[in-house]
């Protein structure tokens, strides 16, 4: 028995501009991502991988095509519903961490809970859960530190704790190690692999082939199209046509 894939993209296109100045950022992308997959997206800049991430993250809408997340057609949702969807089902990890400045690690981790209208929690419960998440990423003692008092690697751990706190279906990591030295980067990758091992679905954009090679599956983007969709290890290579079927 096959359950529905977590992500279904069908004929997804994104155009910017009008008339002769139209730029095709994405062209007829169709693919599925199953629950529990760790997918790496590679490609040169301008290949459309950021646009794809933004659409997957419900921060942007496609010009054409459909995007189903958990079976729900995202295209039919308004801004408030998209916000709720980001809040409940998505966790973002950015290259530049994007923590709130002058705000403690604990409060940063609590942020998504504050916007979770469907599961209102008491301040104590929020604090406790945020503490648990910081434990999970190994920052137990740093809860009251502000971002500028933390190293890059520590900030990214806080960001991961924040991404996890509302128990999302999908974690979107946009070059999570891009600003880190190799050792901190390695620690962050270990953390992400740990989450994957625990059953999380992760989509990660990266420039580094070495990092991509450790994912289950590597999508290579070029000129707005998925040029290659390769499964690592024992998995068989899938074709674009296969995903579209």
């Amino acid at each position: 028995m096959m359950s529905r894939p977590l992500i279904e993209l069908r004929g997804l296109s994104k155009r910017y501009g009008v008339g002769d100045g139209v730029v095709l950022a994405l062209e007829h992308v169709s693919l599925n991502i199953e629950r529990g997959e760790f997918v790496a997206i590679m490609g040169p800049s301008g290949s459309g991988k950021s646009t794809l991430m933004n659409i997957l993250g419900c921060l942007d809408r496609p010009t054409e095509g459909t995007y189903r997340l958990d079976g729900e057609d995202v295209g039919s949702l308004d801004k408030a519903q998209l916000a709720l969807l980001r809040n409940r089902r998505l966790g973002f990890v950015f290259q530049s961490y994007n923590l709130l400045g002058r705000t403690s690690a604990l409060h940063n981790v609590m942020l998504p809970m504050l916007y979770d209208r469907q599961r209102p929690r008491t301040p104590e419960a929020r604090l406790a859960l945020a503490g648990t998440m910081l434990d999970l990423v190994g920052l137990t003692a740093r809860g009251h530190h502000q971002p500028h008092e933390l190293s890059g690697g520590q900030q990214q751990r806080v960001a991961i704790a924040r991404a996890l706190v509302n128990d999302p279906s999908l974690i979107l990591a946009d070059e999570p190690t891009g600003n880190l030295d190799s050792r901190s980067g390695e620690e962050i990758m270990a953390l992400l692999h740990g989450l994957h091992a625990a059953g999380r679905t992760i989509v990660m954009v990266t420039h580094e082939a070495a990092l991509a090679s450790r994912a289950d599956r590597v999508l290579t983007m070029h000129d707005g199209r998925v040029q290659a969709d390769v499964a690592n290890g024992a998995s068989v290579e899938k074709t674009i046509a296969g995903a579209a079927a």
Partner: protein, 409 residues
């Protein structure tokens, strides 16, 4: 997001920019405080005027000469009040408690070694204490016989008596006004200043004496001579309009003029109160405009700072949107901040306004009364200003595109 979190976030943001928040609030503080102070001043002035006018004595009717009929050639002979009109009014109108005629002058005063310049001399008639609501501290007031025979007697205001005679008893002493020697027969009880008139520093003497000694020659005859005004005290239970009509009928018959062409006008205290009140109402509306404008200026300050804040915090807005803040969450976050700024500013302004009104009352001639409604009005206006001027920046923040916002440096 829940209201308490909006408040906490807004408070954090205000606290993180203390100086800027204070400067932003300053406009609202000044606006709120000025509403309260302005209202306190106009209410104080109004109360003072009302006190003064009721202090003039109760139920007064003023008959004033006006030279309405006759061309320039006929001049003053064609109209005006005469001294005998006063007596006729007293006898001919029901419910009249007293009628006085007043004629002011000024002269230098001397008593023993003390001499004063430019003292107000008021020539009047015996009913003065009744009509003007003045009590006597010692001695008695002027008598009708003294008016008739132009007796050189004087009643001193309380303050004047003390200036001239100090601790010693002025009754029976002599005061020289100009070149006229007057014998003091009484001293009035202190009354203070009422309606711009200082009752305590005046000298009262029979009106006939003023005509004879202190006014130019054309006023020197007594009987049948012209007076400027007659003041009539009417009993409380009388219908004032009825009394006024009787006065008009009686005087028009005496002056042989028709009711349509009276050579005098009749006014009441109510007319005076109304005139003064319309003046203070104009004053008050001017003040409220000034206060309103300063609140609006304060509001523009809030809008300005909130716009700067939205721009500065674009990335923060992007982060909040990414983790699930809806447009209305963002809108409320900034609206809460501008409301909080204006409410805190309003609260500080209320304290400053109440304090300012009090200081103003202490250090200036103008009395102030803090009106509780003005506090509510000022505070509510501050809140309204915060909401109104905060809405545009908040809406702008809410409409930001998450991707653009996240890219913002």
């Amino acid at each position: 997001m829940i209201p308490r979190e909006f408040l906490r976030t807004a408070w954090e943001s205000i606290r993180k920019n203390k100086l800027r928040s204070f400067l932003t609030m300053l406009g609202i503080i000044i606006g709120t405080a000025s509403v309260i102070v302005m209202v306190a001043i106009s209410a104080g002035t109004e109360a003072a005027i009302e006190e003064q006018i009721t202090g003039l004595g109760s139920n007064l009717v003023f008959v004033t000469a006006s030279f309405s009929r006759g061309g320039p050639g006929e001049g003053m002979s064609s109209g005006g009040l005469v001294y005998d009109d006063a007596a006729a009014l007293h006898e001919g109108i029901r419910g009249v408690e007293g009628v006085i005629v007043e004629q002011g002058a000024s002269a230098s005063l001397r008593a023993g070694s003390v001499s004063l310049d430019e003292v107000e001399i008021l020539g009047t008639t015996p009913a003065f204490p009744t009509v003007r609501d003045v009590n006597l501290q010692s001695g008695r007031f002027l008598l009708e016989a003294e008016v008739q025979r132009k007796a050189k007697v004087a009643v001193l205001g309380a303050g004047l008596a003390e200036e001239l005679f100090g601790e010693s008893d002025p009754i029976g002493q002599t005061v020289t006004a100009g070149t006229t020697k007057l014998t003091v027969v009484g001293v009035t009880a202190p009354k203070g200043s009422v309606g711009g008139t200082d009752f305590d520093s005046r000298l009262y003497t029979p009106i006939t004496v003023v005509f004879q000694k202190f006014t130019p020659a054309q006023f020197s005859r007594i009987v049948g001579d012209r007076v400027r005004a007659i003041t009539i005290a009417v009993a409380e239970d009388q219908d004032l309009n009825e009394t006024i009509l009787q006065i008009k009928l009686l005087l028009s018959k005496r002056h042989e003029v028709s009711l349509e062409a009276l050579d005098f006008t009749v006014t009441t205290q109510d007319d005076i109160i109304n005139t003064r009140e319309s003046t203070t109402a104009a004053f008050r509306s001017l003040l409220s405009w000034v206060a309103g404008v300063s609140l609006i200026v304060g509001g523009i300050g809030i809008m300005n700072i909130m716009l700067v804040s939205v721009t500065e915090r674009t990335r923060e807005i992007g982060i909040r949107q990414a983790v699930g803040a809806s447009p209305s969450d963002i809108r409320w976050q900034f609206l809460t901040e501008s409301l909080l700024l204006s409410l805190v500013g309003g609260a500080v302004g209320v304290v400053a306004g109440v304090g300012g009104a009090w200081l103003f009352g202490v250090f200036s001639e103008m009395p102030t009364v803090v009106v509780p409604e003005s506090i509510i009005l000022a505070f509510a206006s501050a809140a309204a200003v915060g909401g109104f001027f905060g809405f545009y920046p908040a809406n702008r923040a809410a409409r930001l595109d998450p991707i653009e916002a996240l890219r913002h440096e």
